[in-house]
Amino acid sequence: MIYKLIKDNVKYDGIFLILLFIIIISTFTIISPCFFSIMNFKNIILYSSAIGIIALAETMVIIMGGLDISVGSVYALAGIVVAKFHTIVGLKYAILLGLLVGVIFGLINGLSVTKLKINPLITTIATMSIARGLAFVVNSGSTAAILDPVFGKLGRGMIFGLSNQIWYYILAFIIFYIIMKKTIYGKSIYAIGSNERSALFAGIKVDKIKLMTYVLSAIIAALVGIIQTSQMGAGAPQAGIGLEMSVIAAVILGGTSLDGGKGTIIGTTLGVLLIGSLNNGLLLKSVSSDWQNIITGGIMLLAIAGDQLRKEID
């Protein structure tokens, strides 16, 4: 009976995600009076934006059949490098230095995966450890403050009543959406994830595209790390510990296959916002963060299991 119901009515990938989203929003709207407001939605997006932007690039890596778990550490290292060096080399060069952290780690990841053929999980566990270690070394393990008012605008400024970070997220969403949906680069990523050998034989520049994508992922992580440093007014070596797990969780929740070849930017964004809404709603009801973790994990299992069930029936 339930099988038939699902089979006849559910035709789209990720329909469970949307259903869950609606259920979560309606539930919190009923039980928490301040949940359903423009103000609160802005908050949800604002607090989701860091994970959200990194998750967009991670989506590309995972669709390509790869994985990048060094993002949280690169994020922290870039942030503390800017905070530490802005007094020494000036703000402009400090930011460039922060981005360079991204480029270098992206190159290490990309070259290890393409040239040395090291498994991406192993490669990025190693670089995750290296970047985290460096983040502690740079300022001897303590937080570095950055009080430059111009730099502060980057993360804390507002345009048309919306926080800059929300604008960044919207902009990043549009750019990544176009890349994955409309460009040859995006299509090549799907092709590589679908079957790398076939893609190679069809004439796709597999190594070049993989390298580009790992570099992109690391640069995005560094950039978001710099923006967060601006918002906090300080770079902390322990920033973003566990960030990579939230990022990957959102990507998978959004329907991207860890086997590669499948996934969408919209799906990932829905995944990010779902987790964001859930955490926000639980916070409004003063649920402890331990319970938040348990509930978020449960919801994830439910969404993925539902989607899997639909595929099996299909």
Binding site: T183, I184, K187, A191, S194, F201, A202, G203, K262
Partner: protein
């Protein structure tokens, strides 16, 4: 007397999926020690019928008798209890376990018991010895060739005392000597009274190994009888419902110097081929033939930049070119259709549209974006021209197409990329007779329009059917050359075995 020889009877089997009838009153009879060919194009209902026999699908109506006892096969386990087993085309085994262990799993009984390793290995060694396979049973499966693994998988079903074995394309991954081995095993099984249902697209093998045939078309039995009383073209006619037309080869290429599009001069690769020189003319189909391991496959891969050429020169349109990577081959407008379609050809979870356009994406770029309207237009054009059949539209994932149609998609990919030289490794591997004829006809048409084609195929019929010219290799060296129209299987084999020189033209 005749009655007890009958081991299996399937009577008036009907089956529908989602209201579409795929089997209509199908009857099939198998005698003791008989090898029966089950024939039909893709989608004719062969695998559905066999899955019913193995309890994977349930029949809608009809009856199955084993030795005149009516039985219901509602699960693969019950099929096994009735000593029926199936060897699938895609073999499954445990690569990190030994041959003995893999054979033991085939028996499937008392798996939880403690193993006596000595006994187990002795038992496995006996089986291997019985079938003249000279390998230590302790060898891990992953150290064996794909073909040997296939043979071990077949022995798995034998070790379990099966009386009826279904083999689905068992020779698809085997080379010539392994096919020989397999046939010896099959003959031994036949002698010990085991009955075999043999599914294959290779009619050559069917004629050699099977005793009888049953042909399915669109879910109906359209013919059955004994093999010695029928010939190949009659079988093809039954399968396709059409009289097989002989391909007309109107070689219209010119053997002039200006028309040499590709030339290899003394190319060598250690342990693969040495001092190979040949010319490819514009608009011709050239086959590089020879026995397995003669180096022809390696040459094809070198021309596409997958392998590095170690010495000698290659010329394209008279200019020397170093093809050191696939990218360089693509820049010289060379295309390649690999043998391993599933792992090296199709982009399995992408659409037909993407699969056809992938090698031309750089040209379908409009202001940095993918020009999908133009892509759709040309894809629809190829689907019409190549008669690619699929149930959905061009956004359908390619995995849902039959092997023949997938191969046509790969061909369309290189036509879309507008390549000048097309290299094909086993162009009709695992493709049914109808699609095979389509592909051959298509290749002839393309050559006529000026495409230059090099084919490597282990199928002599195919080589003779489509080639303008055939080069035969023996042990890495060119043994001779012959016009396609003058070739015969005997001549090709003789040259391949080393009777060099005599047939030089």
């Amino acid at each position: 007397m005749k009655q007890d020889k009958r081991v299996l009877e399937m009577k008036k089997i009907n089956k529908s999926f989602y209201g579409v009838k795929v089997l209509h009153d199908v009857n099939l009879t198998l005698k003791k020690g008989e090898i029966m060919a089950l024939l039909g194009e893709n989608g004719a209902g062969k695998s559905t019928l066999m899955k019913i026999l193995n309890g994977v699908y349930k029949k809608d109506s009809g009856a199955i008798y084993i030795k005149d006892n009516k039985i219901e096969i509602s699960s693969p386990k019950i099929a096994k209890n009735h000593n029926i087993s199936m060897v699938f085309q895609e073999i499954q085994y445990f690569p990190n376990l030994s041959i003995a262990e893999n054979l033991r799993f085939g028996v499937g009984k008392n798996l939880h018991q403690r193993l006596n390793w000595k006994e187990l290995n002795q038992w496995a060694a006996n089986i291997l010895k019985k079938f003249n396979i000279d390998i230590n049973p302790r060898t891990k499966m992953k150290e064996l060739s794909v073909g040997t693994c296939q043979i071990i998988t077949i022995l798995q079903t034998v070790s379990a005392d099966n009386k009826i074995i279904v083999m689905d394309e068992p020779t698809a991954a085997l080379n010539a000597s392994e096919v020989e081995k397999l046939f010896n095993i099959i003959k031994q099984l036949k002698e010990s009274g085991i009955s075999i249902i043999y599914i294959s697209h290779r009619l050559e093998e069917i004629m050699e190994i099977t005793d009888s045939f049953t042909v399915l078309r669109d879910g109906r039995v359209v013919g059955s009888g004994s093999i010695p009383e029928i010939n190949k073209s009659e079988l093809i006619e039954m399968m396709t419902g059409k009289k097989p037309a002989k391909l007309e080869i109107s070689s219209n290429y010119k053997k002039s110097k200006e028309d040499i599009i590709f030339e290899a001069r003394n190319i060598s690769k250690k342990d693969s081929y040495k001092n190979v020189s040949f010319k490819l003319y514009k608009g011709e189909i050239l086959s590089i033939s020879g026995l397995m391991g003669c180096g022809n496959k390696e040459i094809l891969r070198t021309l596409y930049g997958i392998y590095e050429n170690e010495s000698g020169e290659m010329y394209i349109n008279g200019k020397q070119r170093n093809i050191t990577s696939i990218q360089k081959a693509r820049k010289n407008n060379i295309g390649f259709v690999p043998e391993d379609r599933k792992n090296a050809g199709i982009l399995n979870i992408l659409s037909v549209l993407d699969n056809i356009t992938v090698s031309n994406w750089d040209n379908l770029n409009k202001f940095g974006l993918f020009n999908s309207s133009e892509a759709k237009k040309s894809v629809n054009n190829w689907i019409d021209k190549l008669n690619i059949r699929m149930s959905g539209n061009i956004d359908q994932e390619i995995v849902y197409l039959s092997g023949g149609n997938q191969q046509k998609v790969i061909l369309a990919r290189w036509l879309e990329a507008d390549c000048d030289i097309l290299l094909l490794d086993e162009p009709t591997f695992g493709v049914d007779v109808g699609a095979r004829y389509d592909i051959h006809k298509m290749l002839r048409n393309l050559a006529k329009k000026g495409l230059s084609i090099i084919i490597v195929s282990s199928d002599y019929e195919e080589v003779m059917d489509v080639s303008d010219r055939i080069i035969v290799m023996c042990d890495g060296e060119i043994a001779g050359e012959i016009e396609g129209s003058k070739a015969s299987k005997e001549v090709l084999l003789e040259m391949a075995l080393g009777g060099c020189g005599e047939y030089d033209l």
